[in-house]
């Protein structure tokens, strides 16, 4: 049972993290190559708070808020730049985050933070908390997708110049997506830190940013269920199949490449095609 609990907890955290990027990249069409930095900000922030003796719920909330606030600042900077620049700016934010954390002794520097206090919950209870949050984020994503905000996001992902011609304040919507996505990544980070109870800079590096992007892309950009499935599978695959772990990155790279090259709408796109609805409504469909 303990093994299943570990797997499900890891899956749930991956699902929250992947759905958080899905808000930015999937719904709003903005590529972030530094999303793990916000996961890391949430993790470090939450860990520092429980290490200073404050309660776990407060730590989660603080990780959520701090990641979201830094996300807004980064968003304000990057959303001024042209579409293709965002990928590079966010990648830069990822490296900047690592560079800063590595040099800070109070954050454990290169060696990382160990001895993060327990959440106070038993393992099954912690798993239940993670799964409840994952379910809530799923519900929120599904609601958002059907709301007018999701509608506007579709248009921004499709053609932001034309969206402006319809009176849409594109920068504010992108910022909203960024704020929500980075805050939720921070929440996932806080959960991660208290699940593993040890964090170091390498847990939030470029590889993690690519991993989460792979989950969103393989699942099908913008498809909530596709992303959940991809996050669940890709997060536990290396745990299940030990021999994969040496080839994990090769697999992710190959997945990113193959999916983009042959089925840019991911698994959701393939399912839609199989159902005969080849005219997918995902923004990646046609341009």
């Amino acid at each position: 049972m303990a093994y299943e609990i570990t797997l499900l907890t890891a899956m749930g955290i991956a699902v929250i993290f992947a759905l958080s990027l899905n808000l930015i990249t999937g719904f709003c069409g903005q590529i972030s190559l530094g999303h793990a930095a916000f996961y890391g900000i949430g993790a470090y922030c939450a860990a520092m708070i429980t290490k200073s003796g404050l309660p776990f719920p407060l730590a989660l909330a603080a990780g959520f808020l701090l990641a979201g606030m830094i996300g807004v600042v980064v968003g304000l900077a990057s959303l001024r730049v042209r579409h293709d620049f965002l990928a590079i700016t966010t990648m830069g934010v990822g490296f900047l985050f690592l560079g800063i954390v590595r040099q800070q002794d109070f954050l454990g520097g290169e060696m990382g933070l160990s001895g993060i206090p327990s959440s106070g919950l038993s393992k099954p209870a912690f798993m239940a908390l993670v799964l409840i949050i994952a379910a809530a984020v799923t519900a929120f994503s599904l609601y958002l997708k059907r709301s007018w905000m999701g509608y506007v996001f579709d248009s921004v992902a499709d053609d932001e110049d034309t969206a402006r011609m319809l009176g849409i304040d594109v920068a504010r919507y992108k910022l909203a997506a960024f704020a929500m996505g980075t805050a939720l990544a921070g929440l996932a980070g806080g959960l991660y830190a208290h699940n593993i109870r040890f964090i170091d800079p390498d847990s939030f590096g470029f590889v993690e940013s690519i991993t989460v992007l792979a989950m969103v892309v393989v699942g099908g950009i913008g498809s909530v269920w596709g992303v959940i499935l991809a996050a669940a599978v890709l997060s536990v695959l290396p745990l299940w199949l030990q021999f994969i772990s040496d080839y994990k990155l090769l697999l992710y790279g190959a997945l990113l490449f193959t999916v983009m090259r042959f089925s840019p709408n991911g698994m959701a796109g393939m399912v839609a095609a199989l159902k005969g609805r080849s005219k997918s409504t995902a923004p990646g469909g046609k341009a």
């Binding site: 011609m165 009176g167 849409i168 919507y173």
Partner: protein, 257 residues
């Protein structure tokens, strides 16, 4: 009566090239104004200065007496500009009616928070269907834009602009690329909209349709005002004939070549 839109002394330079120099015009409420000029005269730059895609080095654009020169495009749209672009740009990931419905929901898309708080779109869909009917493509409501011919996409652009409930409709070459019959039909739609009280600025190369439907013309040449007035007077102006008609002759030669 104050002008609905007033453009004064607008100058736009790109690098060393002057696209517009001290150009301007007024549009009275309810007017249907044709903006003419040979290729390169600055018509599209004028349109872009009004919509805010281009920032003029000098001059002022006012809408209902309010200076909008410094506002970004989306805010100008919120103040009452409806735009139909020269090159059609539907959202290709959405059906035809979804394109129009999004525009019809302009009250709900004003801020992200408002947009997050609303889900129902039946009223906007209804309104979108009316507008598609108005421009004559309601049968295509559920089609994908990619599958439609240019003539219908031009109508979709107009319907989408109308869905914003604009005070002023800016149409940049809505008739370009349409055959004679399609152009005539869309021109009739434009006249009907104007008769319902909508103010319209029309940039157009199709001289015969412009002369047929517009009450007032403004002619640009080399980025400057060349002439303005009612169609007959303007077209009889020797300067206009020299600048514009000469260029039309060249264009037609080019087409036949």
């Amino acid at each position: 009566m104050t002008a609905l839109l007033s453009v004064k002394g607008v100058t736009v330079r790109f690098g060393g090239v002057t696209a517009l120099e001290d150009a301007g015009f007024d549009l009275q409420p309810g007017g249907l104004l044709g903006l003419l000029g040979p290729n390169g005269a600055g018509k599209t730059t004028m349109m872009r200065s009004i919509t805010g895609v281009v920032a003029p080095q000098a001059g002022e654009v006012t809408l209902e007496g309010r200076v909008i020169t410094k506002l970004p495009t989306h805010q100008r749209v919120r103040l009452g500009l409806g735009l139909s672009q020269q090159i059609v740009r539907p959202f290709r990931s959405m059906s035809v009616i979804d394109n129009v419905t999004l525009a019809a929901g302009h009250a709900k898309t004003l801020s992200p928070l408002a947009a997050l708080g609303h889900r129902h779109r039946d009223a906007e869909r209804e309104r979108a269907r009316e507008l598609l009917q108005r421009v004559g493509i309601d049968e295509m409501a559920d089609s994908e834009p990619s599958s439609l011919p240019l003539g219908m996409l031009k109508r979709l652009e107009v319907a989408r602009a109308l869905a914003l409930d604009p005070k002023l409709l800016l149409l940049d070459e809505p008739l370009a690329g349409l055959n004679h019959m399609e152009a005539g039909r869309l021109a009739d739609t434009i006249v009907a909209l104007n008769q319902d009280g909508l103010s319209i600025i029309l940039i157009e190369h199709n001289l015969s349709e412009v002369l047929r439907i517009c009450q007032r013309l403004v002619v640009l040449d080399n980025g400057r005002n060349l002439a303005a007035g009612d169609p007959r007077t303007v077209m009889d102006d020797p300067a206009v004939q020299a600048a514009y008609l000469g260029s039309v002759a060249e264009r037609e030669e080019a087409v036949h070549a």
